[in-house]
């Protein structure tokens, strides 16, 4: 079947848009979860007992040291060897959260370190407890300092979703590849996929920039 190239955007933009929504969905869910786990991980890494510190340290190193595909495959294929079989969506989410947590710990940790020591001293002089100081004084300031790396982190997470087609999660890439198989028009289809990612990445970048400006305003 020969399809004129100009018809392809018409035929496939619906599918690509659907894929984009699925990509955005896992990006948002995994970002929120990684953000929470990353905060806890960073706190543990900074103030936890020695053993916990070491475990978190090596967890971060492993997440940062292994290729993304390899991590995803360990979850999707690897675990089948031990009789655990995740669905594509589950595998996708587990990986994105595991990966995001590793990076989240580092981002959040440097955010906390950047808060001046004087803040701790001022808080304890006021009689605030350590936990109170951490979550009412330090963390809010750390979040502001973290905004720029956090924005790049969300973009990174979005870009990671390109790999999910490898575990048959029906995202943008999956749709683009299906389309390529049917029409033999990789040129236009991958261009559409690239555009979809470009628009989403730039939108996230803009949003992050706006938030930074807002946060910087009251500083």
């Amino acid at each position: 079947m020969h399809i004129p190239i100009l018809n392809i955007p018409l035929l496939y933009s619906g599918a690509i848009a659907q894929g984009a929504i699925k990509d955005l969905m896992v990006t948002i869910i995994s970002t929120i979860l990684s953000f929470i786990l990353g905060t806890l991980g960073a706190t543990a890494r900074l103030y936890g007992p020695k053993l916990v510190k070491t475990v978190v340290y090596w967890y971060v190193e492993i997440i940062r040291g292994l290729p993304a595909i390899l991590q995803l495959f360990i979850i999707y294929y690897g675990f089948t060897q031990w009789g655990i079989d995740f669905s594509p969506l589950t595998a996708a989410l587990i990986w994105l959260v595991a990966y995001g947590t590793g990076y989240g710990v580092e981002i959040f940790r440097s955010g906390i370190i950047d808060v001046p020591q004087g803040q701790w001293e001022a808080a304890s002089a006021l009689g605030l407890s350590r936990t109170m100081t951490m979550f009412r004084i330090i963390v809010p300031q750390a979040y502001v300092a973290m905004l720029p790396p956090l924005t790049s982190f969300v973009v990174l997470q979005l870009k990671n979703t390109t790999l999910l087609y490898l575990v048959a999660y029906s995202d943008i890439m999956y749709q683009a590849r299906l389309g390529t198989d049917a029409t033999e028009q990789p040129g236009i289809l991958y261009l559409m996929a690239a555009l979809a990612y470009l628009i989403m990445s730039l939108a996230i970048g803009r949003l992050g920039y706006r938030l930074e400006r807002r946060a910087a305003a009251y500083r």
């Binding site: 940062r64 040291g65 595909i69 390899l70 294929y77 990789p186 040129g187 991958y190 261009l191 990445s201």
Partner: protein
């Protein structure tokens, strides 16, 4: 455990065959990324209107697109418009083209971080701008470049694993080939993980140490 180790011993040679391709790919892409990145940095810093805009657009757009899509575009899409690249070339073009944006921004930031008094002093002495760049700016920028540059190198080596999707026989590809034969996905993926992790540690820790020493002996 016993079983895993014997599987490792049996399949290590096959995986090591892939390591050669992985390293070759890393080396070639790194050269492209550094050279092209330097050109991008100079273009963005130049006062030639148009040139700086062109470079800025290139950086902003390419950075926002996932490497996997760039790879597919280089490998599949370009073929459709009559530029048929081999898998290796497509991989080097896309990885090099993407990491050039990363290295370009590192170079640009480092050059901008040099105190303006340095260029003024050089200008007042009558040094031409090429000499100023070579003898005054770059030697000082080098130290600001090293840490983020090694960081990107470890990202690059991880991202070479993407070429497995276009059937280049790298470490990831050999791993996948092995696990599809022996149905021991976890064992094979962990073995690959160990190899990738060694590279990561060598780059991050070894180079990191060396950097630290260079920095310490600085002037």
């Amino acid at each position: 455990m016993q079983a895993m180790f014997s599987a490792w011993v049996q399949y290590l040679p096959q995986l090591l065959k892939g390591v050669g391709v992985t390293l070759e790919l890393t080396g070639l892409s790194l050269v492209v990324a550094v050279v092209f990145g330097f050109i991008l940095a100079l273009a963005r810093l130049s006062r030639i209107r148009g040139l700086d805009l062109l470079a800025t657009w290139y950086v902003e757009i390419i950075r926002a697109i996932p490497v996997l899509i760039l790879l597919f575009m280089a490998y599949y899409s370009l073929g459709q418009v009559g530029i048929a690249l081999s898998g290796m070339t497509a991989a080097v073009v896309s990885l090099g083209g993407f990491y050039a944006t990363q290295y370009g921004e590192i170079f640009r930031g480092a050059i901008l971080s040099i105190d303006r008094g340095q260029t003024e002093a050089a200008a007042a002495l009558g040094l031409p701008s090429s000499v100023t760049m070579r003898r005054v700016i770059l030697p000082q920028a080098f130290f600001a470049i090293l840490p983020p540059a090694t960081n990107q190198l470890s990202n690059l080596i991880k991202d070479t694993s993407l070429v497995f999707t276009i059937s280049l026989a790298d470490l990831m590809y050999q791993t996948y080939a092995a696990l599809s034969i022996n149905f021991l996905p976890m064992d094979m993926l962990l073995l690959a993980g160990v190899i990738y992790f060694i590279f990561y540690l060598v780059i991050a820790k070894f180079l990191g140490r060396w950097e630290l020493n260079v920095q310490r002996s600085r002037y």
